[in-house]
């Protein structure tokens, strides 16, 4: 089964994605998953076996062909791999990968993000901004910290700010907590 978790601020942001979907779609406003699983960008997929062990850890996978040119990620290959795992328990060679734990600064960044989101919710946008900035300084290559903050600060997460972040991230060697792209 699929369990989808949206790292979003409100259920209304997510509803259009959940339309017509029968599996659980959960809302993670405080990025608990990003802390527990060391997730640094979305979409990130984790394969979990029936006994609770991880069959294939964090990997960046998408469900549509829309971004192939941009990301080089091909969804059809991932779909075939999932079918083989579900049917026969076969996992690809890259599944045997240990996800690097969060650095202390990355943990601090998640806490700072949580404080910022809380301050924004209680209407203190100015202080929220200070904490979003602090979170970004602590984990500048983390999309769950920097890009997730964009819509909360009225910045377009698909606009210039995103491409700037994407450029910085690529220049830094595309760091990601999960299975590297071959």
């Amino acid at each position: 089964m699929v369990i989808a978790v949206a790292l979003d601020e409100s259920a209304d942001d997510v509803r259009e994605f959940a339309e017509g979907i029968s599996f659980p779609v959960l809302l993670d406003r405080d990025h608990v998953l990003a802390e527990l699983y060391a997730i640094s960008n979305v979409p990130t997929v984790v394969w979990i076996d029936a006994d609770g062990t991880i069959a294939r850890p964090n990997s960046a996978e998408v469900g549509t062909d829309m971004f192939v040119d941009f990301t080089g990620v091909r969804p059809d290959e991932h779909m075939d791999q999932i079918r083989a795992w579900v049917r026969d328990g076969v996992v690809p060679a890259d599944a045997d990968y240990a996800v690097a734990d969060l650095e202390p600064d990355e943990v601090q960044a998640r806490l700072a993000f949580r404080i910022a989101a809380h301050l924004r919710r209680i209407g203190d946008e100015e202080r929220a901004g200070t904490w979003f900035d602090r979170a970004a300084r602590l984990a500048p290559m983390d999309f769950t910290v920097r890009r997730a903050a964009m819509p909360l600060r009225d910045v377009d997460p698909f606009g210039d700010a995103f491409f700037e972040l994407y450029g910085e991230w690529q220049a830094a060697g595309s760091p990601y907590h999960g299975v590297p792209r071959s």
Binding site: L7, R15, V25, L27, L36, I48, V107, L111, I115, D124
Partner: protein
Amino acid sequence: MLTVLTPGGSSTVDAAREGESLLVDPADVSVVLGWELKPEGLCRGDVCVPVRDHAALRHGDRVDLIAAAELLGLTTLVSEEPLVAAISVPAGARSRTLSGRMAADFVLPDLDGTTHSLEEFKDRKRLLVAFASW
């Protein structure tokens, strides 16, 4: 008043900031952290984390929440104004689940507010998909 943000949710308790310490009523330690301060240590159910130096934890009739969190392996980040403390999950637990390839359990609401856990869907293969609208 202090708002505490933990991975399990938020709570508000009476607190005083004293230097680097956040002093709360001993009874509020369990409200906030889920661990109760007892003579044998910080306890949850039958499990106790020993407290070597109770005096270091206590300030008069109050308890330093930050020191208590630290004993549990939790990182705390504090906003002074307004007084807000964000507390992490245990670092050791994450490092163990990551290196041991165990799926960490979590509790989150669905879009209608009903909470679900990963554990609720156990005994079958699960594809956990983290996504976002941004």
